[in-house]
């Protein structure tokens, strides 16, 4: 092939001189509008309809949440205003929405726990931060212990024990999500590996677990975990009431996680496995150093969307009477002192914003990570 004589005679044997870059690729606003909004008559009609729709929705939102809203005052002002949100209601309930019934004098412990968590998460996720391995170690191993000690309390450390039935609000939502996220990934990986195992029994057990869990509604599982569990296992094996939904949520999302991870495992070329085995690498080393790093990288978007699903699913613990953030909003909403025409809408708007910020943040982070990885592959 390298033989010069085989080239067809028409092929140039030297490189062409470079051309000047094309000029004026930035279109004028008029061109942009014509091209993107009015390319065809139908497109023009759509543009007008959708602009009107979008403007109307935006106007509704802004006038409800900002322009017509009650910003100062109290119950009387809110009752008198049927058009806009009632923000004083949120202000008064803000502490309850964050901590639930956690004792007033001990709330600094919650703040401290959340602050430590926030610092660790930023450290962990900030791509250019130094020593991210240490952050991972702190977050996954040390932090859970610290959080437990701080939130629940240890009498000997002069931190009074706070019964978990008093925990509530955003605290519960964040706690559930973080615990779910920390545990669902490793369990999910194990299940995915089990599903692709060569041992038929291991495979069968994993398949049955994954499919059964994915086949039933989460609230039925929660109901059984919180109201029926002592029927199935003896007292001393029955975990705390708050712990059970935590375990349920972690196991539940691990089944979904397993399917995401499995897709990643399937996408790894067979040659990688074969090469590793040919080098005499053991199964676990192969998985840890060769297969999983590649497989998990491919499915980062799937993993993050499972996390987002888990975060949203924490709202369902309300079915077993645990006062998570949404349940706290519901409780606050039915307070007769605040009964007003827009209290429900205000509560839901606020809750929606809070959930949205968390979920949207997660999805944006995964997208930026995806782009980074895609760049990495190209180079």
């Amino acid at each position: 092939m390298s033989d010069q004589s085989l080239h067809p005679p028409l092929v140039n044997s030297s490189l062409l001189p470079p051309m000047a870059p094309p000029c004026g690729i930035r279109p004028s606003p008029a061109t942009w509008i014509r091209k993107n909004l009015f390319s065809t008559p139908f497109s023009g009609v759509l543009t007008i309809c959708f602009t009107v729709l979008a403007a109307w929705l935006l106007h509704q939102f802004v006038s409800f949440a900002v322009l017509d809203a009650v910003w100062a005052g109290g119950q009387e002002e809110c009752r008198a205003n049927p058009d806009g949100a009632c923000w004083p209601f949120i202000v008064e309930k803000f502490d309850y929405l964050r901590y639930g019934a956690y004792p007033l004098s001990e709330r600094w412990r919650v703040d401290l726990t959340l602050a430590i968590g926030a610092v660790l998460i930023v450290w962990l996720l900030w791509k250019r931060a130094p020593r991210r391995n240490l952050a991972a170690l702190l977050f996954f191993i040390v932090y859970p212990v610290v959080a437990f000690v701080l939130l629940r309390g240890v009498a000997s450390l002069n931190l009074p024990v706070i019964d978990t039935v008093l925990w509530g609000g955003l605290l519960i939502t964040l706690l559930m999500s973080v615990v779910g996220i920390v545990f669902s990934l490793p369990i999910g990986v194990l299940l995915a590996l089990g599903r692709r195992s060569e041992l038929p029994l291991v495979r069968a057990v994993c398949v049955i677990f994954i499919e059964v869990v994915r086949g039933v509604p989460f609230i039925t599982v929660l109901f059984m975990a919180n109201f029926m569990m002592p029927l199935f296992v003896p007292d001393y094996l029955t975990p705390d009431r708050l712990l059970r939904p935590l375990i349920a949520i972690a196991l539940f999302s691990s089944a979904y996680m397993a399917e995401v991870v499995r897709a990643g495992l399937q996408a790894i070329p067979k040659g990688q496995y074969e090469a590793a085995k040919a080098l005499g690498v053991s199964y676990f080393t192969m998985m840890r150093l060769i297969i999983l790093p590649q497989a998990l990288t491919i499915v980062i978007p799937g993993i993050v969307s499972t996390f987002i699903g888990l975060f949203k699913d924490t709202t369902l613990v309300a079915i077993v009477g645990i006062a998570d953030f949404l349940r706290a909003v519901e409780t606050a909403r039915v307070d007769p002192n605040w009964a007003g025409p827009t209290i429900s809408s205000t509560g839901y708007l606020f809750a929606g914003l809070v959930y949205w910020i968390f979920c949207f943040g997660m999805s944006r982070y995964s997208q930026s990570m995806e782009r980074e990885l895609a760049r990495g592959h190209k180079s």
Partner: protein, 395 residues
Amino acid sequence: MSDVLLAAPSRRSLSLHDAKVRGIIYQLLLAVSLLALAVGIAVQTASNMRARGIPLSFGFWNEAAGFDINQTLIPYDTLSTYGQAFWVGVVNTLYVSLLGIVLATVLGFVVGIARLSPNWIVSKVAASYVEIIRNIPLLLQLLFWYNAVLKALPAPRASIELPGGIYLNNRGLIIPEIQLYEGAGTVELAFLAATIFCGAFWSYARRAQNRTGKQLPVLWVILAALIGLPLIVFLLVGSPVSFVMPELKGFNYRGGHQLYPEFAALLIGLSVYTASFIAEIVRSGIQAVPKGQTEAAHALGLAPGKTLRLVIVPQALRIIIPPLTSQYLNLTKNSSLAVFIGYPDLVQIFAGTVLNQTGAAVQVMAITLSVYLAISLVMSMAMNTFNQRFAIVER
């Protein structure tokens, strides 16, 4: 090196260094521990239930339920049995799920295609829809639709009157009831005949196209036959139908069909939420079809509409269908959130009221979980069949 390789088979004794032996040992350990766990749980449950006098049988199935359910698509009254209440729940679950699947699919495809629209504002509005809706928990959306939107409608006496004798109030949507008279059967027969004709015409048209390459206007003929023939027969037999108009009597409108707000909130919430996921699936499915396909179709002279219909969508569907099925399954499972807004689905009626009245918690939960598992099994099987039929035939 070669010595080792040669020697290996002769050393095949039962050793822990043999992967197979280890595999068997692992599996045995797993089997034993699982079995011990299962037996332990079974024994513990049985002994607890017996000690506490909790019913162990399914005898409650044929006992009178004695409670009322507002939305029943199959005959049910307060004298019916728990078994019938179960079926009411199953039907209500399937009803809201199927309608939700249809609505979510339509909405999801529209939004998904709109996201790919060359029109900037259309694609941005579609993108905002997706980003807002799928990042807010479904439960919150359901509560919003039910408590903030539908309950805020006016009371019955101040109902919003819509054309055609339809009323909207905080008790729901009340529409006229259709009553069929004698002769209505002929209309159904006509519809049946039209269906058979359509099937025959379709296969004829395909054969004609294969033979001559000419395309017959299949869609128009089928539409004309399906709507026209029953309509003509309907008029010929003298419109054997009347409408029972709802009228305000006592507390609320009487007569007519009532669409309950609980049902409406659940349906709207499920459809809107699931549509945002379906839109993403549709978008990525269409984007996954290589651009060369569009260009080749255009080069062959296919119009844009036909390109989409005959070239892009069939290929995109292959990618879209599997995740779409799992969204359908999610929607069905999510319909159990009905308990939060009072829609009488399987979980609310059966795993709620029936469980409470009978105390047969273990049996009721087992049945409930089995129903959902069966639904998911049937859907997975349908999807596998589809995948096999439509998989790309490799050379």
